[in-house]
Structures are given as C-alpha cells and as structure tokens.
Symmetry: C2
Subunit: 414 residues, 2 copies
C-alpha cells in the first residue's frame, strides 16, 4: 500500500508554502555573484576571540547548569542583566523570557493569539519571518502602507476605525519602528506617539520588533513604543545582530497579564532555549564585551551604508527612490513604476547581482517595483560594484520597456 500522509495535513499546514525568496536565494550562490539579497551580518565582524574565551570560561565554571536543561523562561541572571542593560531596570526579569531567536517569539505570538481568520495589523512591506510565522496560523493581514517614516498612521487610524465599527477586533499591531526590515525606515516620534494614542483608544496590543536597536549609524535615538506604553507593548530583540546569529537567542519583554501563557506555550515548543548559549550571552554582557563590539560594527556597517547610498546616487537611473536608513542592515529601493522587480530578477542574475524582490514582503500583494538591498554582509567595494551592476540592469530594463515605434508609424509621420 502506498502512503498518503499529505492527506493528513492540518488546515494550517495546507497553507504553508515554501518561501519564493528562499528558493531564489539558492540561485545566488554561484561564483562571481554579488548578492545584496541576504539578511546576514558580516561574519568578519563576529566577536570570535571573545566567544571562544567565554566558551572556555562557561564550560569550565558553569557546566552543571550550562550543559543541562534550563527553565523555560531562561537563565535568571541573563534576564536580570538584560533588564538592566537594555531596559534601565524599568522592567524586571519576571517580565522577560528568552526565545530561540526572535523568530520563536513571533511563533509564540501567533500560537497564543491567532485563530484562523483573525486580523493582525502589519506594515506593507513587513518582515518576511513575521509573515511566515503569522501565516502559519492563518492570520488575516491588515496591511498599512509604510513610507520613509514607517507605517502611515493616518491609514492605520482609518482602518482601525472601520474594523472596530463593524464590531471586529485586531489581535495585535506588529511594528518594526527602528531601521525597518525590509524598508530601512525609522518611525517618526510623531507617529510613535500617535500609535500610543490609538493603542489606548482601541485596547491594542503592540508588538515592537527591534532587532537592530543598537545598530544606529546616524540621527538621534527615539523612545521605544515600549518606553511610551509598556503595559500594551511586547518588546522583542535578539543577540543575532549584537553577538552572533548562531546563539539563536531572542528576548521578549511581555506585559504581566500574558506572561505565563506565553511561557506555557514556549514549553510546548522547545522546553527551553539552549542554556549553553544563554550563558555565553550572559558572560558577554557581564564582561562588558557588548559595548566595544557595537562600536566596531557601527563603524563598519555605517561605512557600508554610506558606500551603498553614494553608489545608488551614482548608478541608479532617474525615477528611482530609496530610503536613507539611519541604522540596521537594509535599504529599500522603489523604481520606475513600469519596472517589475520579479520579472527583472533573471536579468539581474545574468549580470551577477542579486536583490530581494520587494513584493515578497507584501502579505497581500503589491510593491512590484520595489527591492530590498542589504549592505551589512559584503565588503564596501563589493557593495559598490553590486550597486553598479544593478544600476545597469535597471537601465537596460527601462530601455527595453521604452517601446520603439513600429516601422509603419515612422512612414506615416510627416
């Protein structure tokens, strides 16, 4: 008898599709390719020597706890130092739990809050991992257009009014206020304050995803949504960008009311996040290794950002627009409205340069003429060469689209 297990999939699983982007990214590993597509930190920046020393220390001095199972909430000393270093002790460790990367935090959110068809608010574009996490629970995405200053709050207000007028609710509003992935924007203070007002008005739960908080290269730090309205905000951040992605360690600051439900949920997913990696993160913070490392990556990524902005200015054709990110790892380009970056993608690959098709970040479609460009991974001269190639590809695309007049038209001209 042949097996027929796929007939047994859950309704949620039926809807899980392979990410188009990840399939495309597989094409970008051929030699000579410059990929501005990935979302990776520069491995040359990993604090390798520090992590090696910490590993020896942790294994020598804490093996009984660091190699054992740990509590679901996470290592208490780590949650304490996170409260202190990143939250000025305005929250206590009892409000913080560690997750296996921020991604697990998103999965827990989905599992705890989303029934099929439930509405959640996201910007368009928004983070691909959030789309994947929430789609897995069949959320209905209410997409709010984002521009250079984050989510358009007037549109948000309008949509909320319409939804609540019908007696409907949204489960949460998912935001990335700083150095947005993918669009590189930073939400203005005015918009932050307005979101706070809307949260009060509509009893909203705000999710503030803030993985790049420490990676600011220019401009002034703005208050977090969590600073403005802690009782309504789940704040999420990660060690991926300030230490190393392989730690698979995120932290989540959660209103008391929902903390224990999220812990019970995490327990069902993976019992606990690696205590070994948690001890490494703890010693990293305790040892004062964070601050010099951040200084170093700010300098290096800040320069790469500058190089990317200058090369785009030089090589992208008229009619292109791009964000000027104050931090993070990504820049967002919006091209001439006739260009479809999905259709253009094979030509880019032929020219040995890759980007992420912007449309992938729109859960309900849209953004056909947009692309995400990463500046953290490659060396500055590679960033420059990549943008040069991409500028050429866009020029070619525009030339091909400028429909030549047919021959008979010429004949009929005076």
């Amino acid at each position: 008898m042949t097996t027929n297990f796929s007939s047994k999939y859950s309704a949620n699983a039926e809807g899980m599709k392979a990410s188009e982007i990840r399939e495309l990214l597989k094409l970008t590993s051929k030699p000579g390719m410059i990929s501005l597509a990935g979302g990776l930190p520069d491995p040359a920046m990993f604090p390798v020597d520090v992590i090696r020393e910490l590993a020896v220390d942790v294994i020598n001095n804490h093996s009984a706890s660091a190699l054992q199972y740990g509590s679901t909430e996470g290592v208490p000393a780590l949650r304490e130092i996170i409260a202190k270093k990143f939250h000025d002790n305005k929250v206590g460790p009892e409000q913080i739990f560690m997750s296996t990367g921020s991604q697990e935090g998103l999965d827990i959110l989905g599992k705890v809050f989303i029934d099929p068809g439930d509405k959640i608010v996201v910007s368009a574009p928004t983070y691909l991992g959030a789309i994947t996490a929430f789609k897995a629970y069949r959320a209905k995405f209410v997409t709010i257009e984002a521009d250079d200053y984050g989510m358009n709050i007037e549109i948000l207000e309008e949509r909320l009014r319409a939804i609540y007028a019908k007696g409907d609710v949204v489960k949460f509003v998912y935001t990335i206020p700083n150095f947005h992935n993918p669009n590189g924007s930073t939400m203005s203070l005015k918009r932050r304050k307005k979101i706070v007002k809307l949260a009060e008005e509509y009893d909203l739960l705000i999710v503030e995803d803030d993985p790049y908080a420490q990676l600011r290269y220019t401009g002034e730090q703005l208050p977090r949504l969590h600073d403005l309205i802690p009782e309504r905000t789940i704040y999420m951040s990660t060690f991926s960008k300030i230490m190393a992605p392989a730690m698979r360690l995120g932290w989540n600051v959660v209103p008391e009311e929902i903390y224990s439900k999220m812990i019970i949920c995490k327990q069902s997913i993976d019992l606990c996040s690696s205590p070994l990696n948690q001890y490494l993160a703890l010693k990293y913070l305790e040892g004062g290794h964070l601050e010099p490392h951040i200084e170093r990556i700010r300098k290096v990524y800040g320069n790469k950002r500058k190089v990317m902005l200058e090369s785009i200015e030089e090589y992208f054709p008229m009619g292109s627009h791009w964000t000027k990110p104050e931090g993070g790892m990504f820049l967002w380009a919006t091209l001439d409205h006739r260009i479809n970056t999905r259709k253009m993608f094979p030509r880019a690959l032929e020219n040995n340069v890759a980007y992420v098709i912007g449309g992938a970040f729109y859960p309900n479609g849209g953004g056909e003429n947009t692309m995400r460009l990463n500046f953290s991974f490659s060396a500055p001269e590679i960033v420059r060469e990549g943008i040069k190639r991409l500028g050429n590809v866009i020029e070619q695309e525009l030339e091909l689209m400028a429909t030549p007049m047919p021959e008979w038209a010429e004949l009929n001209f005076p």
Copy 2:
C-alpha cells in the same frame, strides 16, 4: 483604560494549562530533599573536557559558518554523519532535519498534522512533553494501555478497527518503543511487528520517539520500527542524553513525502537550530567522542538502575509492582490499588522524597496509583536512601488506610 489581552487568546491558547508537575517540581528544591522526580541526566557525566575542546576548535576553525545563520534543515555534514552513525546510511541526509531538541520535532508534528479534534494514538501513560505539544493543537488522545512490554497491541487493533469502521482516521501513532518515558518498558519484537502490520492495514504514520536508544544496560537490542517500516515512520532522537541537553538538538528522520512540509513549518518556528551547537555535535561524532561517552554512562546509569531495583525490592511493601527497565532513565511503580499517589505526594515531601505523580502521564485520566522514578540523576547512595524513604511513606499510607476496627467491635469479639 485597563488592558484585556487575555480575551484575545486563540482557542488553542485557551486550552494551554501550566503543567501541574512543573509546579510540584518547584517544591522539590528545598535542602535535604531527595528528588526522584526530575528527568535529568547526571551532570557529573557531561563530557565537559571534550565539549570545551570542541568549542575552541569550532570557534577557531569554523566561525564564519558556526556563528552565522544556518539552513533550516541543519548543517549538511552533521546530517550526513547522523545518517552514517545512527542509521547505517539506510537513510540519506536529505531525509534528516535537525530540530531544537526533540520537543520542537513534536511541536512540528502537531502543527503539520493536527486540527482541533483530530485523533492521535498514544500509550497511557505517555511522555509529558508529547502530551503538551499535541494538546497545544487540541488533539484528541486515543490512549492505549501500556504494560511492561509497551503499548497493548490487541487494544490498539481493537480501537483502530472501531475508529476506521466509523470512517474516522488517526493522524499518527506516537510510540516510545525503547525504555519508555515514563514507564520504562521496552516494546517486544512481537508487538513491533504487529504495529507494522497495523500501519500497512490502516495507512498509519508511526512516530518513533527514541531519545534513549544508546542507553541500554541489559537485554538485546531490538529492531526499530523505522528499520521495519521506514516509509511509514518518523524517527526522532536527540543529543540530550548522549552529549548534553543544552545542545537543544534533536534529529528527525522523515519520509520523503512530508519532508519539505516539515521544513517549511520549522522555518516559521525558529528559522534554524543553533549552527554553533550543531558544529559541536558534528565534531563530537567526527572525533569519535560518542562511543567512549556512551560506554561510560551505560556503566554509571546501569549501576544506578541496579541500585534502584534492589532498593525497591527491599523497601517497597507487598502489593507494589514495578518495571525492570532495560535502559533509559526511568522506572515505573504501580502501588496497591487503594493508594492515590497524588494524595500521597504531600506526605512524601514531608519525608523529604519526591516522585512524579503517575496520573500526569495519562492525557485522559487514570494511573492514580502509579509513579515515575528517575534513577539517572542522583548518586547511587542517594537513590537507595530516596527509595527507602519512599517505601516508608507508602507503608504509612497503607497503614492509615487500613481502617482500624471501632472499639465496640473489639468488645464484641470472643
């Protein structure tokens, strides 16, 4: 305005309850307490020196990959060596994926296969983490009584016949054939073969959870269900018991038909399991560190098992029954039918000894006179003392229950 976020929980989250056991375990950390309740490996057995050396090697020589994000499937070289070392290359790496502990494998199973109300088959008792994982998707548990030789296959056949006669299906059959947690049993070869027949007959997907495979202290190794019927079996195992729990690394061998769906699902949960920990596991296997470590823990745990069996024989009152596990970490005791181990628990704590209440492992209730006892964690003399105390507690409980004759009855006796 006060918040009311709990009104926004998903229907799945509504059903997530804090584990009674985990709450009770918190009571067992007071000084002087002997806990036979936990499910932990003995930290004295962790291969600390080896892990330290491997950490230095991995960070020195593989930092660019080992500290970066990795593929969702897991590090290819690790999946290759797992295929070779644990599966004689009868499966290829393309059928194996790494999960964040076996627990994440269970969560993925639940997410991919279970819609609310769907039937899955488990033994009673069964692994608590599996109950939690599957309950989170509101599975309906079809519980099959387990004895000293695993799941009762006659009952299984009967139940399947009844379910399929009504046109209903079961999504999968979850089994722990070796050194069952909690009941310590090993499924007999006859029963294994019978499960294979039933799987063919009813188009069943079998989940073989095998975390203790390498921890056999006595008796002969039996073929895995996955050896007998690979095309219908998801095989799961873990580095928790053969290296260290903090690795948070399980591996899953999955039929081709459903592999990519499980990968897409894992991607939505945590993107990838820690590449750092995966490299540690890879070097552990490559370096030949597994074999001497297993030899060492077999000797030590085997002795603790022996001590527990001898002390139970000595201290437990008549009318008690217990399994004689051939491996693993747990032994299962069934007491006089009048004893309720949940009610007896406070008295055990007063006497400075703890166990896990057997009823916790029955998703649909039952097992009131049973308990799980762990022999891997504590030193042999502690195991012996713990069993002695527990024997006393049980004796006391029996004495209290032996209703004394009322005074007038004595008077009327000849």
